[in-house]
Amino acid sequence: MFLKTVFTCLAFLVAGTCLGIEPERSVIQILTYRQSPDWSAPWRFDVVQRAGGSGFVIRGKRIMTNAHVVSWARQIIVRKYQDAKPYAAKVEFVAHDCDLAILTVEDESFFDGLPALGFGDLPKVRSTVITYGYPAGGEEISYTRGVVSRIELSPYSHIGNRRLLTVQTDAAINPGNSGGPVVQDDRVVGVAFQGIKSLEGAGFFIPPQVIQRFLKDIEDKHYDGLPLAGAGIASLQNPAYRALLKLPDNNLGARVDRIRSKTHTKNVLRADDVILKIGEFAVASDATILFQSNRVFCAMGFQLGQSGDSVPVQLWRDGKLQDVTVTLEAAVDDQCEGNQFDVEPRYFVFGGLVFTQLSLDYLRDSGREGSEATAGELNYELFFRNREEPELAREEPVVLSSVLTDAVNANFITRGRVLVDRINGIRIEKVADVIRAFASSTNTHDMIEFGGRGSFETLDHAEAVRANTKILKTYGITQDRHL
């Protein structure tokens, strides 16, 4: 006990020596000029927009911030505390799945006199934290003090389809605060990143566990991604279900409800397995684990490691205990279901027909145009087909986004916002297939078949080839494809 107390004190002293007592000197103002693509006209970009955020200096002459602060940035400018000089920065690593990024500054003198902030541990609920940053409404640094009110897995809105460990605080976190450090005892215990409109006075920050995992992930100079369990885990509290599985009524164990079809997990886990332990964490019947005095959803047990790591899992299967190993895997097959950044949409234009990948971004950018039936079909294809009919799911569903009017396509009834099923008999799994299907055509006409009710259109191949250059020029499209 004595030894432990001394060690803690030493650590504090070392940190204090390293940091000084002015974290604000290491808090950086970030200005970006960003331009995101128009997903329904994928060769085109929206107008350049100015945005602001915060960051802080970490070891190795680098700045940590949120991924959403620097996504789609054409230019990144960083400024030091009470220093008017702008410095150009660039993204070294970005992790959109956990909303974190690392920046470097071209002029390394930027870091002169700026101490790197060190990281602390997960703050305790009811403890006090201070948020540093450059929120909107002023140019100077802002400090807000708040209390940690809740720690649990929550959706990360930047990517939209991931739930990770999140700390909620009543410290105000406003636009511009994003990427700023949340500090406790002069150590960073989080990165401010989001709020919820319906929860006034509540802000959320990314805790040290997520940050440290990200930093470890990029040690090999490559970001692999956040590993997922690859399984849907449900609570197991109904006595009948527990009895069916011959499981003791001891409030332990959560049930594997479903397995993601494209993961290695399907070779290890199966539906109705009962997960009793994930690594060192006992899993309760409500599918939670006790993580540093916080009850959090047990998927957390798979989110601490790196892709490729092995996690021992204790199961209850067929009425017996069983130990298995789950190999962690970064999920990349569901990118289109979430928000995408920094990778321009894939497309191909032929005869004025604009083909692009179906994605959440596409659905949002294309708005509510088109009939409900069409919108419904695209929603089903993107979010439900792979679960309900995995055998019919496509690698990267392709839509006819729009038809750029020309004499060659003027008689088309279908003008866009529809899933492409086949072209010249070739099933379209991805945008590259569209190019192949037109290129391999030996007929005078190309037949394009669509999803839903099965409508189709036909294009005179020779006329389309002849019209292509003119159409691209007319509509200002410099490249007929981006893959």
């Binding site: 197991l236 439900f384 189709f456």
Partner: protein, 496 residues
Amino acid sequence: MKNHFAIRLLLLIAPLAALAETISTNASTWEKSVVNIEVARKSYDYYQPWNRRSERAAKTGVVVGERQILATAQGLSDQTLVRMQKNGRGKWATASVVWIDYHANLALLTTEDAAFWRDLRPADLTSKPPAEGAKLQIVRWREGKLENRQAEFTQYSVNESVGSAINHVQMELDSEIRDAGSGEPVITDSRVAGITASQLGRTCKVITASFIHSVVDAHKSVSPRVLGYFHFYWQPAENPASLAQLKLSGEPRGVLVINVPERLDGVDSVLKPRDIILNIDGFDLDMQGDYIDPEFGSLTLENLSTRGRWAGDDIKMKIWRDGKPLDVMYRLPGYDFKNSLVPIAVHDQMPDYLIVGGLVFQPLTTPYLQRWGSEWERTAPFRLNHYRSDEATKAKPSLVILSQVLPDKFNIGYQEYRSLVVSQVNGQTVNKLADLQAALKKPKDKFHIIDFVPNESLQRIVLAAGDTEREATQRILKRFGIADDEQITSKSAAGK
């Protein structure tokens, strides 16, 4: 001189008197032909299907024959009491429904109250449809007085019937009248040109006299005929490249068949995707799918499924298939709400449900989705809503959902689950409540295993079977004030 003056005075007065009589006659004609209808009906709460409440609705009817009042079918379902009132005021007579056709949106009412019929006069239905420029009136009783609103004919169009998916020609009018669409007669040249079916803004849609004639005649026959529909999907043939690909030369014409769903009546469809339909029932189709109707002018082809044709009729079609013309006979299927995987309406019955240990199962129907309010098409769960675009098939004629869980210690752990589509129970496929009921009779080792269509919420629930389940169900029914654990209209398909 005096007499002479008197004669001239009489001559001057006479035409005025004649005119006054004409107006009076016209007004009294419609006063004697238009009646108020009051409907008391049961209204069901599809989220708590064991609940019902009483609703009242007002409609307009028109006397069309001996002791016959014509009305729209809308609002007459689940009726508990229908009353009719003449002269816009006074005594109400209890009415009965002679027949009701929800697909045509028409009904015929009568009453045994002899006094009601006294002074009433049947109106004639016009045999000549009004055309552009026709003067029309919409007539109804309002606060004891006959309201007579002018309306202007705009066009004939083919639309789905209110409350059904069958298509027939309707007359569109522009009028200042408000809150019409409840069967108000539309008058032209002292005859009834139709009755209103709906109103949106200033546009009233009217069921035409010719369609009314046809449906009324069909219901007079010993075995009433059922309206049919075309059970295939088509697209216009406006793209000449598509016609060239299908080897049809000449001017673009006809429509392209794109999808021919399985028929539930067992009849093999004579059409195939990529057929071009050139002519239906003697009418050539243009490339938008329109034909020239002798009565109404240019109309879309769907009208040919109800233009004097009925389910079971063979309709001649000229099609173009594999580069050659072909004559085929298309047997018209009858429309039934159950043709859709998610029926668009349920009439004259309590909503079906089955409660097992607090788990409430219901068929997925449009009335259930409409529980999400006026914006239900946007706010109801997407996946449930999207099933509406699917056709019923023999393998999957309908869907059963877990709509909610009435909380109890028996179902602890499942209380928050809802809107899940059932796929199997105890290993047996479930498409109907009767299937579910049959499957529940065969538990697996004292357990019920309920599987749902793959989703991101929950794919399996297990319940105890036997006495514990029965006790729990009774306990839950008592606590939630529910009289019966089930309401299943048809059990005939169980296990089939």
